[in-house]
């Protein structure tokens, strides 16, 4: 069990196309969601509803940038960009 830990997040780039990893299932909770990765068996917490909506819809946008514009207010963009980078490092989202 681990809260999203930021190991190497270098691979995450917002101009690329991303998606929720097909090996990951999301379960809605009052604070956001739990993400479970069936491959590495890690549990990750998505700590806001906005993050859940963002992650769930990544596959519908040509890039993470576009998804961020659609779901996140300008003032909060950096927070969510960092959250996506952590989720990429935890393999909750992957490049498509």
């Amino acid at each position: 069990m681990s809260v999203t830990d930021a190991r190497s997040a270098a691979a995450f780039a917002t101009d690329r196309a991303w998606r929720l990893n097909p090996q990951v299932a999301l379960r809605d909770e009052s604070f956001g969601a739990l993400a479970y990765h069936y491959g590495n068996r890690r549990l990750v917490f998505l700590k806001s509803r906005t993050l859940v909506a963002l992650v769930s819809s990544l596959a519908e946008y040509p890039s993470a940038d576009d998804a961020l514009v659609a779901h996140v207010r300008d003032g909060e963009r950096r927070v969510y960009e960092r959250a996506l980078a952590r989720l990429a490092a935890a393999e909750v989202i992957d490049a498509r």
Binding site: M1, E29, Y36, Y38, F45
Partner: protein, 388 residues
């Protein structure tokens, strides 16, 4: 889109309970071919009221519908259940991953290959010492050799990184490095858990639980090795300094619970006692109704009193420790853990009037119906270190 202004810290969210558990233990049977002196569930005899294969599948269906993600299967020895492989396969096929704990006695080369071929399956082989002498004193003669054979078979079958699961005792603390090396030699992960005074542990805890000096040594050993798995077991030690890895809270009834072999649902795997019984999966509504509506779980999800610990500066770190450890040593639930690192537990233990005994148990019985004594060797000398 709404702003998520100042969300409640995750720890507090968890204290109020989640829609489904994140750590569900399911003990499939009370039958066991070993008789470990610290067995949490006092296992031995199969209970005639054990869930049928069909009832067990219904539990899996409920977990899948709740998005339980995974279940920790234990016992007793779960591989003694005739439908063990069917049930595990059924769970995995429905998106409920399985991690199961075993004493290893049933992991033949053929079964190891069968396990290695399954996806979303994790195996924990239990040993309680790095040597047969230390292990067998707790788990019984021959149990160390049997566990090592199981590990050899899993490795030969290409299972990958299984887990070596160890309950930390006074006698194996000096062997922690050797245990880590043993796990490494298999490419396995070492998992350490805390000894609880539950089940047969009621009678063995006094002699087996680590000393205060060993607890401090364990805290530092774990702090230097964040890769060691602990199941969030040692959060009482977080009062010593920086918190250990994990959530560091008692998840009983909030994010943790136990389903026992007859379908009874308890707040956690370490409190098999009527006081912590929330319901039964055979009741109308099944497991989801017990999890979401039982009076016991609702009360555990309310803010809890810090009681005698309220004035302690470490309360935020340890939150008073483990409910089960307090209950089965006869301490008040809103007071210090018996192994409180500041020594408040020792004082409370000295002041207690009586301690409860585990009323529920499946230990093997003699002809007179009384539980057979479990051999508890008295150790008169320090463990012999291998290579010495």
């Amino acid at each position: 889109m709404r702003a998520d202004a100042a969300p409640l810290p995750l720890k507090d969210r968890f204290s109020r309970g989640l829609d489904a558990p994140i750590c569900l233990t399911w003990e499939l049977t009370y039958a066991c071919n070993l008789a470990c002196v610290h067995c949490l569930s006092s296992s031995g005899r199969r209970d005639p009221g054990e869930l049928s294969p069909l009832e067990a599948r219904t539990v899996v269906d409920d977990l899948a519908a709740m998005q339980g993600f995974y279940v920790n299967i234990g016992g007793g020895e779960p591989m003694l259940r005739p439908d063990f492989f069917d049930l595990v396969g059924y769970a995995v096929d429905r998106g409920v991953g399985v991690k199961f704990s075993t004493n290893g006695t049933r992991i033949t080369p053929a079964r190891a290959r069968r396990l290695a071929a399954m996806e979303y399956l994790d195996v924990q082989v239990s040993i309680d010492g790095a040597t047969a002498a230390t292990n067998d004193a707790v788990r019984g003669d021959g149990s160390f050799a049997a566990a090592r054979r199981a590990m050899d078979n899993l490795a030969a079958a290409g299972f990958g990184a299984f887990k070596v699961s160890v309950v930390v005792t006074r006698h194996n603390v000096p062997e922690l490095d050797a245990l880590a090396a043993l796990a490494d030699s298999y490419g396995a992960q070492l998992r350490l858990t805390r000894l609880r005074p539950s089940g047969r542990g009621v009678d063995s805890w006094d002699e087996l639980h680590p000393t205060a000096a060993q607890q401090r040594a364990l805290y530092h050993w774990l702090s230097e090795r964040p890769g060691i798995l602990t199941g969030d077991s040692f959060f009482h030690l977080s009062a010593l300094g920086e918190p250990l890895e994990g959530l560091n809270l008692c998840g009983a009834g909030r994010v943790v619970c136990l389903i026992d072999p007859v379908g009874d649902v308890y707040a956690c795997p370490f409190v098999i006692d009527r006081q912590f019984l929330a319901g039964n999966v055979r009741d109308g509504g099944g497991f989801p109704a017990v999890w979401r509506t039982s009076a016991l779980f609702s009360s555990l999800r309310q803010p809890q009193s810090a009681g005698a610990c309220a004035s302690c500066g470490s309360f935020d770190a340890c939150r008073g420790g483990c409910m089960a450890a307090k209950f089965f040593t006869g301490l008040p639930l809103d007071g210090p853990d018996p192994e409180c690192v500041h020594g408040h537990g020792e004082a409370a233990l000295a002041a207690r009037h009586e301690r409860p005994h585990a009323a529920l148990g499946h230990s093997r019985v003699g002809r007179d119906g009384a539980a057979l004594p479990v051999p508890m060797p008295v150790r008169l000398r320090a463990p012999v270190r291998s290579g010495a």
